[in-house]
């Protein structure tokens, strides 16, 4: 590991100033991803600015009915929060489906959004990787890619974003707040991760040196009936091979409102807007759900070894929406 300086900050302005003064510096939150990557040499910061003690650890309801989640709130505290469990149960389920109890106690909301892909070629510094070393190539396209992207990938990178939390946040239209030396800003999570294109190394639309300060969930009555389902290669403590966050509101047998997002299929949490368009106003039943899945997956471009994901996601859409419709009818 490269030697590095360390500084703990208790003030957002100090944090932003320190990072702005040093392009080789990184913010340290829970460290569950960054420290791991530093051990393997994927990340080689010259300085860590420890932001864990910043006063950004609150979850608050705002006057307009939104829920504001501070960036240093731990995954555990987010999942356990009564308002999250009541108003956005799929978010609690998504967080609890990720990592382990130990890691959820350490990891933070801001860090979760910035975590790196678990693509084996990205993690191995002896291999080419366009994300880690732009222009060096992508061995995954011809190599090991059974857990890689089927949606929105490019010839330059087929890695998937590993977050579970981000999938539920994307379904519920979360907005990311950040601070820079030039002042604060906001980014809808839908615009937070740019398309891969030929720049897979540009992973977020955050300005350079920006510090995520929080995430805001707008009011979404539909989210009260929501579910996160994750498929993985073992029963617990593994990254997804496919996941879905879904919320459904049915009135008189017709889909009144719906939210759908997919995980582990793209370089970012994938909002399934084509599917949502098919669903809104249509009868809440199996045929509609299957048509919605088809609509979203029509643009899927599976690689030789990950075609199963198309079937998997279709089944997840139909299965979870069917369960939610049955629950709504109760």
């Amino acid at each position: 590991m490269r030697e590095f300086g360390y500084q703990r900050v208790s003030d957002v302005a100090d944090a932003v100033a320190l990072l702005g003064a040093d392009p080789d510096a990184r913010f340290l939150g829970g460290g569950t991803n960054l420290v791991d990557l530093m051990k393997t040499g994927v990340e080689r910061p010259a300085r860590l600015v420890d932001v864990r003690e910043l006063p950004l650890d609150r979850i608050e309801s705002t006057k307009d009915g939104a829920l504001r989640i501070g960036a240093t709130v731990t995954n555990s505290d987010l999942a356990a929060h009564p308002e999250v469990r009541r108003r956005y149960p799929a978010l609690t389920q998504a967080v609890l489906a990720g990592a382990s109890g130990q890691l959820r106690n350490m990891a933070t909301v801001g860090g979760n959004l910035l975590q790196r892909t678990r693509c084996g070629y990205f993690a191995d510094v002896t291999k080419p990787c366009n994300k880690r070393l732009p222009g060096s190539g992508c061995p995954a396209i011809e190599g090991e890619h059974r857990n890689h992207a089927i949606l929105g990938a490019s010839d330059h990178c087929v890695a998937v974003h590993p977050s579970d939390m981000g999938v539920a946040l994307t379904a519920f239209d979360a907005v990311v707040s950040y601070e820079t030396a030039d002042g604060p800003g906001e980014l809808p999570l839908a615009d937070f991760y740019p398309p891969v294109g030929h720049t897979p190394h540009l992973e977020t639309a955050l300005p350079p040196g920006a510090l995520i300060t929080g995430v805001t969930l707008p009011p979404a009555p539909v989210a009260a009936l929501s579910r996160y389902r994750k498929v993985r290669e073992r029963a617990s403590y593994a990254f997804a091979i496919g996941s879905i966050a879904a919320a459904l509101e049915v009135r008189d047998g017709v889909v009144h409102d719906v939210r759908l997002a997919f995980g582990a299929v793209a370089s970012r949490p994938w909002r399934a807007r084509a599917a949502e368009r098919v669903l809104r106003g249509a009868p809440a039943g199996g045929e509609t759900f299957a048509a919605a899945a088809e609509a979203e997956l029509a643009t899927a471009k599976p690689l030789p070894h990950n075609g199963y994901k198309v079937t998997l996601m279709r089944n997840l859409v139909v299965g979870v929406l069917t369960e939610l419709a049955e629950e709504a009818a109760r």
Binding site: G5, Y6, T32, L48, A79, Q102, N105
Partner: protein, 196 residues
Amino acid sequence: MAPAPSSTYSAITLNINGEKYALSVDHRTTLLDALRERLDLTGTKKGCDQGQCGACTILLDGRRAVSCLQLAVAAQGREITTIEGMAQGERLHPVQQAFLDLDGYQCGYCTPGQICSAVAVLEEHAAGWPSAVTDDVRPEAGPPPLTAEEIRERMSGNLCRCGAYVSIVQAVARAAATDATDAETAEAENTAEAVA
């Protein structure tokens, strides 16, 4: 604000099991390595050293964490509890006793991490935290019963290569029951005192 000093090491004080330890650490030092290599607290084990096995589990401010991904310098100011701090004198923690009584181990290498994790699992459950196998996570549903399925999910961050999981689950269940009995006994005693 002026750029930070470029030093790559710091003099720190760690609060471990109620005692203060002063040491100078290279910033690259993980809490796990500081405990084992610098402070001779070797009860905490190194397994994978990349946050995947749970052998190095300790408590940070009362919550379980993997010490292999925790930088020592960033642990300054926090209350650290290791396996060495679980017993009260000669009296084992109820979780330790349950692991002993029910053979919740085979080779024992993962056991300190399993025990630290289990201690935290009981507290998380008592605080009403749901898990990934909890059917209804809404607060109105109340805390789920600590079934074998719940214990397995909550303990899934601790791997046991010997495969002693069956007895580990039993030990955690036994400790949970002991906890509940203690609480009921204490409550009964309080009630008795109040009546008297």
